[in-house]
Amino acid sequence: MQTKITNAFKPFLTTVFFTIFLQLFLMAQDKEFIFLGKVVDEKTQFPLGGASIQIKGAYHEVIADNEGQFIVKTVQKFPFVISISYVGYETKDITVENAQKLTIGLTETKNKLNEVVIVGYGTQRKSDITGSVASIPKNILSQPAASFDNLLQGAVPGVAVTQSSGQPGSTATIRVRGGNSISFGNDPLYVIDGFIVYNNNSYTNTGASNGTGVNALSTINPSDIESIEILKDASATAIYGSRGANGVVMITTRRGKKGSNDISYSTYIGRQSINQKLSLLNASQWASLVNDINVSDNKPKTFTDSAIAAFGEGSDWQSAALKDANIQNHELSFSGGDDKSRYLISGNYFNQNGTVVNTGFKRYSGRVNYERNISDRLKISTNVFGSQTIEDKLFGSPYNSINFSGAYPTLLLTSPVALIKNADGTYNKTSPYSTTPTNPLLDVYETTNRSNISRVLGSISAEFKVLKELVLKITGGADLINSKQNYYAPSNTGSPAGSSTGYQAGSYASVGTATAVTWLNENTLTYDHAFSNTHFLNLLAGYTTQYQKDESVVATGQKFPNDLTTYNNLNYAATAVLPSSDAHKSVLNSYLARVNYSYLHKYNLTISGRADGSSKLGANNRWGFFPSVGLSWNASQESFLKKFNPTISNLKLRLSAGQTGNSEVPPYSSLAALSPTNYYFNSTLVTGISPLQVANPDLKWETTTQYNAGIDLGLLSNRITLVLDAYYKKTSDLLLNVPLPFYTGYLSSLQNVGSVENKGIELSLTTDNIKTKDVSWRSTIVFAVNKNKILSLGNGVNYYFPIAPLGLVSPVIVQVGLPVGSFWGYNTNGLLTADDIAKGVPILAGVSQKEGDRKYVDYNGDGVISTADKHNLGSAQPKFTYGFSNTVTYKNLDLSFLFQGSYGNKIFNLLQQKLEIPTLSLNASATLLDRWSTTNPNGKFPRATNAPVAQVTDKYVEDGSYIKLKNISLGYTFSKGIITKIHAKQLRLYVSAQNLLTITKYSGYDPEVNFYENDNTKQGIDYGIYPTYKTFLAGLNITF
């Protein structure tokens, strides 16, 4: 029975322990016995050298030798109890009756320490890891999501995910431990079943379509994913060398299990509805505003009082474009295996209708994972998935464009006096109040803006045991992405974004395709050996080569005779627009090596290095070397701490340092490229060709040097586990466009200058609050602080302003000492009073400000408000981010929910600014009802006047802190007895809700917003994104 002693009794035992100890001590002078034994793995009978054997109550312990043999010399009399322990195995207590030799079998523990974790080019025991690696918890991974990047939010510390907008299938900004780079590539590297994928959204955006970018990650079916590990520090990521600096997301897909043949079907259906609407002026309120503007400009009123009253509510353009929408997902999979083969075949259909009319996202995908042991020494495997996604987007600014335009802001800004539909039911297309006489709702309904993406990602690998412990692995694979984008604005629609077309062009069609192919070949040799079961050595060496190629074509036509062929036949176009095409290719060759050494699984060392040669860098600097070293110490395995077990069930200290890189520059960046320009002689186009950039053969990668220190602590038999990490990262040789003197004829050249630092603390605390037969409750808190600071921009440059939309002033600055992309503008201090004017307080230079206008703060005290008064208004980077997830089970019921939030991040609410500028043509925010006027002298908003100068002010740089109930789900898993009647192995039903609750002070639709998507210098800018929504779902998982 003593072998069955479980952890639950242990605290009890420790108290008894000292009593026994005392008695034994008193008996210590007696005769010595010798007792022999052997420790083996109960399952494999493999000897466990290094196991520790201790007589209960005795002072010393003995260690089993290489063959698992041990000798105990003791003065204790039989029978006595010995305790046998080994890392990763359940500790076993045995009563020894006599001196007969015993073989003691230990069983592997189910606790996390023994878990094998996926790391770069292999797996590692979790206890041996020296770096910072976080796994996405299962309960979060099983939440319904359109794309797996949605699931990373709030799940582990140090991974910040921001959805760009609510558009189904849109991109997200993902940052692991802050952004290292200013200009290029801050996205982590994805490794999907060993295949390296750098998520390049430009492969899925051809230029034919517009609006938000298409997320290439959404091509992957999230329910195929078995586990996600995030590699964060240099010890873990240096094996990915010049692409490891931004962290690595290791994705492993599901595979079949030995000895089963399962058929699973899972589905969910749901309904989405908009979280909130912005409050805008209604028709009569807007008409009064127009009158007020006229009055303050000394012009006659436009509307009579009776006309204003008659307008009433008018048109609600916002509501007319929004609707509740359905979402559904179906998945069927077959999986299983025997001694020699494992397989998984799955198919998925996902369909999310948008909450804005005429938008949505669909995915069809299939996967085959198969592996077979051809012989004892040769194993082959393949992972292949294919998918097609169809995304109907709300049209807007072209992808990667800096200018603002879009269907959604236009809807909000359209005058409520303009009719949506005429009395006869047709769409109204005239508005005397609108600058662009279009019907934005009609435009949204009628415009086709569709992206079709097909993707196949497949790899084949063979593992060959050259020697017993030496494995050669050869992998070959390809990632093929093919995008076709179709855009058609029929003759009855208004201007599509960024071009003067629509009504003016008659009709406008654009088609584009892009294909991107990545070929990857990886060859690794792994040597794994345990010396005397005390020294564990794992060596890895490899050579990999990757070839990337992308090609794209866009063709456009205007003025079609009718709308019958839409974008399908540009030959019908009366006006052809110049087509364009592009192509790039690049090569990355790498050598990699790693040594993992562990002494008794107590002291662990990892040394890794990778040499990368990239064709994209300058001819003089193609090769870079990225080393790292990591140490860890399982202190809880030391005898002086063992006695605190299970109070302190696990204590591990980790330390690592290393360098990783970033070379995500576009191909050809180092070359003296020439670019075409246009001129006309005799009214005929001629093409001019002239230098675009000066060659920089010294161009190289950015280097991030990272230090990490961490503690893994488990208390009370790991019912409380804590992971705490502190890190410091310095990224130098930044790839920056260094300003050249303008007189050279060049604005800038891409060079390696400047540095950025990120430092932070990450904490993850998991507690099993209740753990009984019927009830369990587990909570996880994750918390991360990251401070980002620009240390240098090189060459005496102290700041620069990123390119702003045409005619606007940049709301952000990149300045030494500040976080990347800090908002730059004026402080305001209410409104100008008559008293202020009389006193001559500073007013905006060049503008005759009057009573009731915005009062700006003269920051430098020079008596005038000029650009010199602008200063740092905060940045989009949060002070800290956090997540709080809980899983509660009661018998067959399970409940889980995740709160997730961000604190201290700022958002530049450009939409609100635009909505608070009173104009004679555009609608405005309802906040303007409280505008200053002689009759409302306490109004909080400036007086109505035509075209005040829009400034970046603290009024519109808002606090973007939020806390969200990201998801909550309640499920019921049927008992075996019931479901065996229907021959099922498992059946679970659940209901779930997403984004149910958001607590924030932010006045826009959602504080999760990035109009500029991945542009690192322009994070946190809101210009009328696709609004976000909450989702209610019901689902079913059944396995036969």
């Binding site: 090569v587 001019g688 230098p691 000066v694 050279t744 004829g745």
Partner: protein, 486 residues
């Protein structure tokens, strides 16, 4: 079995592993591959021309609004439009601009960008083996453009870096130079233009719109006038008038700004724009910012300072209704729309349908018109002879007669005649990038006295007779000094 599989695996591994680390761009031309044929030479010259009508970042081109923001908003012709959201545009109109003004920076940048393109052509073309006549012509055209841009620079900013070759390094320290004196830059301009006077007198067919020897002489005349070298100026003017170039005034003033009459007898040098070339269309922003919609509540980007500009014109002056509009016909509604205060009309392309489609405007920007030469002729004669000669009267009256304005009052003294010529220039060249240059070249307090008439511009001072060097340029290179007063 095993051996075979090993061989297969190794072969597969090796065959994958032959990727070379070289960049051979298929979608990009690099400098090393270019400047080898006459077609390459031609493209290099076209690139220099295109710096006049387009911007690399799709900003306003030099001769498509950007220079006008300095010469128009900076003068007494314009202040700013309520629709100008960029405070830097407003600041130019209110004499409150500062050294970091983004429009000043953009102009500076664009001028040097064009100079760089001209330099590349001038440096590379002589090394290409093709027809020597054509080769010389290409170089001279490039020199004309370089001179035109330096002439703007030296008038706007005074001393400036004189760059005649493309950089070969990206190291900022080795790219640092100081400002070259105004006089030395003028010497370079004169030398480039003198060479450019060997250009053909006219072009036929496909080459219409290129710089001619007449354009070089005309630009030289403007250079000498600005330098107050009246005699040399007059010599160049006489060459332009009597050199057999066939320049003449259009009978209709409107024809100077119409598509069918582009590159006509009055146009000595124009920056070219074209309609309906889709993505290859350079936007003539002066058209677009003069007219955006039929909504009177919506202001275009550029508007007259106030109604006094409009009132300068006699109602019979045919230039008035070409330069301004107050009412426009909306073909879509079949109605005339009354806009109230006069707005600029000169660069609206009225041939477009719908009229709001001004992004497609094909109206050329006339850099030098024959009317300019006639008025410079009157000015030079007045200066040389201590007062107006009959020839001087004849010159100005030709311009006035074409506009249906009576002859200038006879018997004016030198000073009054000078004032009359400048007034005539103002009326003739609204929105043609002249006014600020004309005000500043008269020297003394003339410029800011003219500005101070407007309450919005009362801050104008002597420092405004030269624009400040963009602050970013000084920040980057301490050798660049700032202009006095800034």
């Amino acid at each position: 079995m095993k051996k075979i599989s090993i061989i297969v695996l190794l072969t597969a591994g090796i065959s994958f592993s032959c990727n070379k680390l070289v960049e051979e761009p298929s979608s990009l031309i690099t400098a090393a591959q270019f400047y080898k044929t006459s077609a390459d030479a031609s493209a290099a010259v076209s690139a220099a021309y295109s710096s006049l009508n387009s911007d690399i970042a799709n900003d306003f081109p030099i001769y498509g609004r950007n220079l006008n923001l300095l010469t128009g908003n900076g003068s007494d012709d314009q202040i700013f439009s309520p629709s100008n959201t960029n405070p830097d545009v407003r600041a130019l109109g209110t004499a409150t601009y500062i050294t970091s003004n983004d429009r000043l920076k953009k102009n500076w940048q664009q001028h040097y960008y064009g100079i760089s393109r001209a330099n590349v052509a001038i440096d590379n073309i002589p090394n290409i083996d093709f027809d020597t006549t054509l080769r010389a012509r290409f170089v001279r055209e490039s020199k004309f453009i370089r001179a035109l841009l330096y002439f703007n620079i030296v008038r706007l900013w005074g001393d400036a870096p004189l760059i005649l070759h493309d950089p070969t390094t990206v190291d900022v320290n080795s790219l640092k130079v100081a400002r070259t004196s105004k006089d030395s830059i003028y010497l370079q301009i004169i030398s480039d233009l003198t060479d450019a006077t060997n250009l053909p007198k006219t072009y036929s067919g496909a080459d219409k719109g290129r710089a001619t020897s007449g354009a070089a002489h005309a630009l030289l005349a403007k250079v000498y006038i600005t330098r107050r070298d009246w005699t040399k100026a007059l010599a160049e003017i006489n060459t332009v008038i009597n050199g057999g170039y066939g320049y003449a005034l259009f009978a209709n003033y409107k024809d100077a700004f119409q598509k069918p009459t582009k590159n006509g007898a009055e146009h000595i040098f124009s920056v070219q724009y074209e309609t309906n070339l889709g993505a290859k269309n350079s936007v003539q922003w002066l058209s677009q910012t003069n007219f955006g919609s039929f909504n009177p509540a919506v202001y275009p980007g550029d508007i007259p300072a106030d109604s006094t500009l409009y009132k300068l014109f006699a109602p019979t002056d045919t230039r008035r209704d070409v330069t301004f509009f107050t009412t426009l016909y909306n073909a879509a509604t079949g109605q005339n729309v009354f806009f109230g205060a006069p707005r600029f009309a000169k660069f609206i392309d009225f041939s477009l349908s719908p009229l709001t489609n001004q992004a497609q405007s094909g109206i050329n920007f006339p850099v030098i018109r024959y009317a300019d030469i006639l008025l410079l002729d009157a000015e030079a004669l007045n200066e040389i002879n201590g007062g107006p000669t009959q020839e001087a009267y004849d010159a100005i009256n030709k311009v006035r007669t074409r506009a249906s304005v009576p002859n200038l009052t006879a018997g004016l003294n030198q000073s009054d005649f000078r004032d009359s010529v400048f007034l005539e220039r103002r009326k003739e060249f609204i929105q043609e990038g002249m006014r600020w240059f004309d005000l500043s070249r008269r020297g003394g307090t003339y410029l800011y006295d003219a500005l101070k008439i407007y309450p919005a511009k009362t801050g104008a001072a002597v420092k405004d007779t030269l624009y400040p060097i963009p602050q970013a340029e000084i920040d980057l290179n301490a050798q660049i000094t700032q202009n006095p007063g800034w």
